[in-house]
Amino acid sequence: MTFFSHLRKAAIATAFVLGATAVHAEEQYFPLQSYRVGPYAAGGTGFFGGFIDYLNLINIRDGGVNGVKLAWSEGETQYEVEKGVEVYERLKSNPGIAAWNPLSVGIAYAMIDRITDDKVPLITINHGRTDTTDGRVFPYVFPLLLNPYSETSGIVNYIASKEGGLDKLKGKNIVVLYHGSPYGKETIPIYELLSQKYGFELSQIEVPHPGNEQQAQWLTIRREHPDYVVLRGWGVMNPVALKTAQKTGFPADHIIGNVWSNSEEDVIPAGDAAKGYTAITTQASGERYPVVQEIVKTVYGDGKGNLEDKSRIGSVYHNLGIVNGILNVEAVRIAQAKFGNRTLTGDEVRWGFEHLKLDPARVEALGAKDLFHSINVSWDNHEGDGYVTFQQWDGKKWNVVSDWIAPDWKLLRPIIEKSSEAYAKEKGIKIRTAEDADAVVSN
């Protein structure tokens, strides 16, 4: 036994020495649970490509964040929960982890307990579990920019603005066509609530996974004669919906897509049927933004670009990855201002995310004016009041067709708190206060 304990000590010491030499230079590490194969590879390659491109830009152009280099490595998950958990366990022993960004609801759910134990932030930009917005119950989870409820509210507000005001929604008829999965069902109660509040008629129709046959649903829609159809789809369901709509004679410009039905990969396969289709987004697409231009010049010019197909630069998923990169890097920068320009602990980066306030002026300074609006995260609001905009497909590219729209956060907050408090009760979690949020673990 003593022999073994000596051996163990020696092994730990060796590992420590080796590990210490490996991070000789100050480094902040991003473990990436990416998916480049499998049914959702289009989203995975675009998002993680954009994320890596931005991290590369910071390293090449600025030499890292205040001299701290950014590092990362990838593990393939194929969007499967157990592979995501395996990659998490594999990568979590790396030193200097800043944050996890799995881009998968299922993997994020499986990680909530684990990252809370590890005290490392988990970022679920534009998706995730809605009630993790409540930082009082979920200190380490951040559904940045847009949670599913805000998305719903943003879509309804946009329809109202097209009709000339929220009071004009009364008597209108809206159909929600949703993917038959946990993700698709998440917003059912919130659409019902908004329908009661604003007095529009609502029917919600399910499309069973994967959604490559929708004749029956669209015949029902034709009978209903709705003013708008909201498409809450995923993957192959989206182009099929647009094509079937065309066949049944429903106009594409009255179909509004949600945040996972808004990419080039959703509309290009539908061809002409997608012309006029409008979808919500938190980040505009296209290459014209200074930060995207710099990535093209510096990163791709250097031969270090991550996308194999350069025509995808500036696509919806690629730009989402870039915005995600900006948010992660800025959180690290904000935390460095408080804790020093060195490799930070996960808890210190968590503090950085909880003070992640980028107003439009700061966003412009980062070269992302019009790419996304602003973010204002606090210790108890982990979403950060993201604004949304709407883009219309003209057959070749997305064009922004609305101003930045604010979801109705005041209306949603009590519902989120009710759900998170129920979770806290179920799991025996103590509700955090502002003082708890300022207590940071630094080693």
Partner: protein, 349 residues
């Protein structure tokens, strides 16, 4: 008197045999309860041992049904889902129910379900039965997504595992979950081992080998088949609880899809039908080998290709290995293991 003397003379020989027989289980026991909790890294426990244990147990359950009783089933992951969701709901809705009670009730729910979907086996055989068990697969996934009650009206339908504790002792740490898992698997495997060596086990084999002959010699065929479905689903249901509570710590209905059923079926085919040891060997092959290949690939070529290309090539290698291996040894890893043992035995003697 003479008999006693003979017994006394035999005694030392029996001791040697006994030690030989007990050596492996004792070693396993020491490794499982001593070495692993003390020295295993978090990665080994969380990413390899926990899924290995849960899938092994599911494979033991399916092997009872398919390997011993000859009833082909593609509903395994549905029974796992029933077990996991039943455990979640019993835990949530019955105040003060101990963990063992939750698991047993979950197993019983899965067993009841298994009997219902085993009814077609009274008329259908082989591939036709496999197709009818597919119904279980689709029905369960549909029902769990459709009715919010099962996931406590959680809007996204994903549930998270509760606190695990036995007699006030928290088992939420990786080691605690491992100990719960390994104990459950050992107890159930021991029970299955007893069962297959009993009269019921012989009935299973009789039904598998020749149903008509079994009926002629007085084996109650209908009862035997339904019993096989019930016990097998009970075990698979508990494997589902382990998968959800000790390994993933979260469950969504989509996690228990047809792929998982196929995975369990492949485990028993690769490991060896009608062999308890085969279930464990097959699970090790299916869980560990892809991870090993992926680590090796990342280590050797990580800088050259992106993770997508690497993952694709691992699949090709894994597929090729399975084909080569099944051609070399169609009766599975278990048979290979026996051959190896015989060869070593013959060389040493």
């Amino acid at each position: 008197m003479a008999v006693q003397a003979l017994d006394a003379a035999r005694l030392p020989v029996d001791w040697v045999k006994l030690v030989q027989k007990l050596a492996l289980p004792t070693a396993l026991f020491v490794v499982a309860y001593g070495v692993v909790p003390a020295y295993a890294s978090g990665y080994l426990v969380e990413a390899i041992l926990l899924p290995f244990l849960a899938l092994s147990l599911a494979a033991v359950g399916l092997n009872l049904l398919t390997g011993y009783c000859g009833q082909l089933s593609l509903g395994s992951s549905a029974f796992m889902a029933v077990g996991a969701f039943a455990a979640y709901n019993f835990n949530l809705r019955v105040e003060g129910l101990p963990l063992a009670g939750t698991m047993i009730l979950a197993g019983i729910s899965a067993a009841g379900f298994g009997v219902v979907f085993g009814l077609p086996s009274l008329r259908l055989r082989g591939f036709y039965l496999a197709v009818s068990t597919l119904a279980a697969q689709f029905f369960v996934q549909w029902a769990l997504t459709k009715f919010g009650w099962f996931s406590n009206d959680n809007p996204s339908g994903v549930i998270s595992a509760p606190h695990l504790a036995v007699a006030g002792l928290s088992l939420d740490s990786a080691t605690g979950r491992y100990l719960l898992s390994v104990t459950t698997v050992m107890v159930l495997t021991a029970l299955v081992w007893r069962l297959v060596n009993s009269a019921t086990g012989r009935n299973f084999i009789a039904v598998r080998d020749n149903e008509t002959a079994a009926r002629v010699i007085g084996v109650p065929v209908l009862r035997t088949k339904l019993l096989a479905f019930a016990i097998s689903s009970f075990i698979i249901g508990i494997a589902g609880v382990l998968w959800a509570f000790t390994y993933l710590r979260t469950v969504e209905p989509a996690g228990f899809n047809l792929d998982r059923s196929f995975q369990i079926l492949f485990i028993i085919i690769i490991g060896g039908l009608a062999s308890i040891r085969g279930a464990f060997l097959g699970a090790a092959f299916i869980v560990v080998l892809p991870l090993f290949l992926s680590r090796l690939g990342a280590f050797l070529f990580g800088g050259l290709f992106d993770s997508g290309v690497l993952d694709m090539s691992q699949r090709i290698v894994l597929g090729a290995l399975i084909i080569i291996f099944l051609i070399a040894e169609p009766s599975g890893l278990s048979a290979l293991f026996d051959r190896l043992k015989r060869r070593i035995g013959s060389r040493s003697s």
